[in-house]
Subunit: 222 residues, 2 copies
């Protein structure tokens, strides 16, 4: 028996469920960001840096996707924001159905919902969850060629964050080359260069997310 190819019908039904999730998020008036990166690229550190500053001005929920365990959920909870854990057991990505299971647990309206997907550059890109946009993180130790090797994610992500700028002196990563490679796949990508360790570059990220939050508020008033 050969491997059965059912990718397309699965994605179609996932898209339907993602639209339904989107309807729920719209009624809550929440900006939902689907955060995707390799294992250890700094998804959790990025979220923690964002949460720590932005929790003063907006209501944040973090949805934490992991194969197993609650290591990151616990560390984010300590910042005083609400966290919901999804454990996928064997699945290498979040999908719209898993996200739908979270919806009944959301008991109030959040301005910003940050979803940390499973550490993987491939499948998470294929499954919409009802997000406003995907935010991809590429860390400098991974190399500047990754946008060419994992093109779908870098093609679909509206925002791409180059993280771990603090390691630039010690790794073979050319920021200009990385940006060129990103733009080959996605000429309109919004690109930020940061270090979630030192905080470098985060001012522009905050400004961007505030702008997106305001755009969403205006949309809901119409």
């Amino acid at each position: 028996m050969k491997k059965i190819r059912i990718l397309k019908p699965v994605l179609v039904s996932n898209q339907q469920r993602a639209r339904e999730n989107r309807g729920v998020f719209d009624r809550m008036n929440s900006l939902v960001i689907n955060i995707i990166a390799s294992p250890g690229a700094g998804k959790t550190s990025f979220i923690k840096y964002l949460v720590n500053v932005m929790k003063k001005t907006c209501k944040i929920l973090v949805v934490e996707g992991d194969i197993k365990g609650q290591i990151d959920s616990k560390s984010i909870s300590r910042l005083g924001v609400d966290v919901i854990q999804i454990n996928t057991a064997t699945e290498c990505h979040l999908d719209a159905f898993m996200t739908a299971q979270v919806l009944p647990k959301i008991k109030k309206n959040y301005d910003l919902i940050l979803v940390e997907n499973i550490g993987n550059l491939v499948c998470p890109a294929e499954f919409e969850i009802g997000e406003d946009f995907k935010l991809a993180i590429l860390s400098t130790p991974e190399g500047d060629d990754k946008p060419l090797k994992y093109p779908l994610l870098f093609h679909l992500a509206k925002v791409i964050v180059i993280n771990k700028r603090d390691l630039l002196p010690y790794v073979d990563f050319r920021p200009d080359e990385a940006i060129k490679n990103i733009q080959k796949e996605n000429p309109k990508a919004v690109i930020f260069e940061v270090s979630a360790k030192t905080g470098e570059g985060f001012e522009e990220v905050f400004r961007y997310i505030h702008k997106e939050l305001n755009a969403r508020k205006k949309k809901s008033k119409r």
Copy 2:
């Protein structure tokens, strides 16, 4: 329509095909290592360091798995060893059927076949390809908690290489903690600590692979 779960039957048929591949590799008397890691953990650098030294004493083939492109194949070819490229297009892992498609292209007997899987800690662990063993690479910038978050790979890999030791002074990675976490999932794991940049720690890796090559030769003489 809900997502269809067909994981189990797929794995069973994959295992059958993997056994058939294994039969072919046995007849060639090749040691086959399935190398699995995150994007950018240093799979290609590890392979290049190994090849550069070991090509003097044994015949090596590299099978290079990528979603798209031939960046790594080209750079490995320049070392003067044979390379076969597999492009998976959308698949996030190699499986036994993809590997079977490579077999007719293998025109001579190699002592050592190094298979570089897709950069992903999840699905590549689930699909046997007919390998002698899996070798997982964990790089220091990824963090010492990864064995707990992606347990299946670290459970199944006979050999686990901690790479990028040269970055230890600059990242939050505790080698003892990483080893403890690996051993929680896999008490018998053979663990090496290396830097594919400086060559640190490779002597022990060479010794180990030579031992495995000799064991395979003895087995075939019986």
